[in-house]
């Protein structure tokens, strides 16, 4: 007869039964708690709030010495065993996939007791305890395991040697969670752990194989030395067992094997580089995308780790129809957010370098899909959509066609400038930076959508990455823009804000601010007046920043800004001269000489260009300026560079020298 009673005791009632003196009542109550929380996150939370975890942990602690002999079969010892088993199972369930639960279990001091109980004679107890510990080690909150202590390494080895799946699985989980540094990886190798894990790969059960694959990947990560020691002497054999598992019947095993192989590929240039294995990995991962469960959610991330930054793999993936397949999955809709995010990031990697890939985006007409993703409720998805957009807008062909500067994209993108998540903001700014380079005259759409004003607001953000990215977007926005647009940007920014950004504490922000000025004053002589606004605030800021430039990039952008100013009229050129010769403290040498002597040829080029503009023969004050430069030793410094290895430098130097000869100099 079907039972479907819902008349359960209330949680608080259950918890009071836990304190009963009668072992049988206790066991029943523990079992009831366990059964209510398993699979039920809401219940875990409500029991947590009532203090269930310390209560159960307390019972575990009290009973820890009650089961010392496996031979007793009487009622008392049965109850003792059951108390341990049920309380361990309950604690394990609290910790399963639930960080608040893990924290509660750790705070209640249950961890050392669980470790002790691994030595208990009763099999069921050990099983339950090992499982609970495994759940804890699946969480980031698990205590760090110190592999470098001899005692700990021996304990780990004993765990891996156990015949019980849950115990050896625990050993593997500890490695996967806690092994981080190259030193730890080497220590594990030296203790023979890899050999043990390899034997689990070849002879173990399904869960042991999976756990081994994860641990091996952790030990191999970024450690070519350990990899070559592992794969070296028995050439090909250990690696071939992993390669075989990539074709295993179980999807999760295939995924973990691929991830392990990818870790090896990425760390070491000697292994798994032939085209056969590359193609195989691509095909297996693309096929895993079809898995409806968690494996399919994680597959795109593994795919990204395979192809990121690697043109050869992106080409192979393109030939394997990767882009079509990824798009097909997005079009299906109602994706799990993790899967959605993964696929978008995988597409971003595919579009990142090759124009042949980007042209697929346009032919498949997925602009609307991306626009939808920009408004998704999940922050990870929104950020991933922006990153994907940034990659695909690297296509100059399509930027110039004005393909992206339309309201479908710009409006949701501008809304993301106000997103509560900083990473989404930064990603949106990255995409915007490309879109606003739009070579047509449709930049006004961006202003109409309020984008320009938003960018200026973001330039005042507390987060330095947001400030520098906002400035980057503005810099690209004013690139070769018409005067009206530039004036709009400048009046929104104001001279005082721009000069304070030039003097920002963060070097990346300084660099972008200077580059923005460079683009603003470029082109029309009237725009040069910007730097003189409010008593030359901006010009002064540039000068002061160049005196103490902390990176070459700051020097380069600043010099080009000055170079553009120096392309103006007499007044402008004289102002630049004054700046170049301002003394700071006891520094006799102008920063100009320092830049000319720099190893960075871009910096030299920028500086020489400025000199070219200052000594341009058509302007009346040129001879006077040339004299000053000569007196400061700058001309002779330039003469020394006449045979500079960098072509740009050489050409500009010769221009300067040619110009100086026009004034009768030798």
């Amino acid at each position: 007869m079907p039972s479907a009673t819902v008349n359960k005791p209330r949680p608080s009632e259950l918890l009071s039964r836990l304190t009963s003196a009668e072992p049988e009542v206790k066991v029943r109550a523990l079992r009831e708690v366990k059964n209510q929380i398993i699979g039920n996150r809401t219940k875990k939370l409500s029991f947590l709030k009532l203090g269930a975890v310390p209560a159960v942990a307390g019972i575990l602690a009290d009973s820890i010495d009650d089961v010392t002999d496996n031979n007793n079969c009487n009622n008392d010892s049965n109850n003792a065993i059951n108390i341990l088993v049920q309380s361990a199972a309950a604690l394990g369930s609290f910790a399963c996939g639930f960080d608040a639960g893990v924290q509660a279990v750790l705070d209640a001091g249950a961890f050392p007791n669980l470790l002790r109980l691994l030595a208990n004679p009763n099999e069921k107890v050990v099983d339950a305890v090992a499982r609970a510990l495994r759940m804890i080690y699946q969480s980031k909150l698990a205590p760090k395991y110190d592999f470098l202590q001899q005692k700990n390494m021996e304990f780990l080895i004993s765990l891996l040697n156990s015949e019980k799946e849950n115990v050896s699985g625990l050993g593997a989980s500890i490695i996967t969670r806690s092994c981080e540094t190259n030193l730890e990886q080497k220590a594990l190798f030296d203790a023979g752990i890899l050999r043990k894990l390899n034997s689990l790969l070849e002879g173990g059960s399904l869960s042991q194989r999976d756990a081994s694959l994860e641990s091996l990947a952790t030990i191999f990560r970024n450690n070519p030395e350990v990899i070559s020691k592992f794969a070296g002497p028995e050439i090909g054999r250990p690696l071939s067992s992993i390669i075989d598992l990539a074709k295993d019947r179980y999807p999760r095993t295939r995924l973990l094997a691929c991830m392990c192989l990818i870790v090896i590929r990425n760390a070491s240039p000697h292994f798994l580089q032939d085209i056969g294995i590359k193609t195989k990995l691509i095909h297996i991962l693309l096929e895993l995308l079809d898995d409806p469960g968690q494996v399919g959610d994680e597959a795109p991330f593994a795919f990204s780790s395979l192809i990121a930054q690697k043109e050869d793999l992106q080409k192979l993936a393109l030939e394997a129809n990767a882009i079509d397949k990824l798009h097909h999955h997005i079009k299906k809709g109602s994706l799990h957010p993790r899967r959605y995010e993964g696929i978008l990031l995988a597409l971003a990697d595919m579009y990142s370098k090759l124009e042949s890939c980007r042209s697929k985006f346009l032919s498949l007409q997925v602009l609307n899909l991306l626009a939808d993703a920009l408004t998704d409720y999940n922050a990870g998805v929104r950020a991933a959509a922006c990153i994907c957009l940034k990659s695909v807008t690297r296509s100059i062909k399509n930027l110039s066609a004005g393909y992206f500067m339309n309201e479908t994209i710009v409006i949701p993108l501008v809304q993301l400038f106000l997103d509560p998540s900083t990473s989404v903001q930064v990603a949106a700014l990255g995409a915007t930076s490309n879109i606003v380079v739009d070579f047509t005259t449709r930049k006004s759409i961006f202003v109409q959508c309020g984008g320009m004003k938003q960018l200026v607001q973001l330039a005042k953000s507390m987060e330095s990455s947001v400030r520098s990215n906002a400035l980057w977007a503005l810099k690209n926005f004013v690139f070769q823009a018409d005067n009206r647009l530039k004036e709009g940007v400048f009046s929104e920014l104001t001279a005082s804000l721009l000069s304070s950004l030039i003097r920002d504490p963060e070097p990346s922000v300084q660099e972008q601010a200077l580059a923005l000025v460079r683009n603003l004053v470029d082109g029309c002589i009237n725009l040069i007046e910007f730097v003189f606004a409010e008593d030359g605030l901006i010009l002064g800021a540039i000068g002061r920043q160049l005196q103490c430039a902390s990176t070459a990039e700051i020097g380069i952008q600043g010099m080009y800004a000055l170079c553009n100013v120096a392309s103006g009229n007499e007044f402008h050129k004289e102002a630049v001269m004054q700046l170049l010769f301002t003394q700071m403290g006891d520094k006799n040498q102008s920063f100009v000489i320092k830049f000319l002597q720099s190893n960075d040829s871009r910096l030299c080029t920028a500086t020489v260009w400025t000199i070219v503009n200052l000594t341009c023969p058509s302007s009346p004050g040129a001879p006077g300026r040339l004299e000053k430069l000569r007196n400061a030793g700058i001309v002779s410094q330039i003469k020394n560079m006449v045979n500079d290895p960098c072509v740009d430098v050489k050409l500009r130097v010769r221009t300067v020298l040619g110009q100086s000869m026009a004034f009768g100099d030798n």
Binding site: S3, A4, K34, N35, G92, S93, G97
Partner: protein
Amino acid sequence: MSLFWIVIRRLAEIEERMATSKKVITREEWEKRLNDVKIRKEDMNKLVMNFLVTEGYVEAAEKFRMESGTEPDIDLATISDRMAVKKAVQCGNVEDAIEKVNDLNPEILDTNPQLFFHLQQQRLIELIRNGKIEEALEFAQEELAPRGEENQTFLEELERTVSLLAFEDVSNCPLAELLDISQRLKIASEVNAAILTSQSHEKDPKLPSLLKMLIWAQNQLDEKAAYPRINNLSNATLEDPTV
């Protein structure tokens, strides 16, 4: 030019004739060839044992082991536990089944949200079947609604199930299939598979795969030859080739 076309036409005719003439194999010939193929008794015994064990026929497996000496690839004791769970679901004792699964391996339901949801859904269906409407509503609200919040697909399934309550005559409504016994069997099968997977055992027996292979191979052969076919898998009789 015309000689070229004559040759092409000739080759096309030859090919056509080759395509329509299939090799014919008589029953005598076929049975003779079959006899030449050797199959080991041990392999067949293993297949039978694998089927019995995976499907959960404990007593039959025990008897078969005693009579044939074939060792099962899984501990028969664990089969009884698994069968108890399956039986509980088939009888509609879902709560009991859940408790048994949790005793067997608490991880299964903790890491398998879909299975857990289906079991809880089945509990709701049983409450509705027994006319315990108030309890059903309370259960749906307390236990199932939070699951629906976590997952869009679950929410949709939940809404379907709860809408059963709207019908006066549940046995004749469009959602009647939910109340059918087959629904219980479906869930029972799902639980069975999950337990087998957690024990690192294959959740499907080998026998169906073999039969599928047979059907596929016959379909492939059909294009090349006319031969005695097995058309009825349950009695496996050879039917004469049509000439």
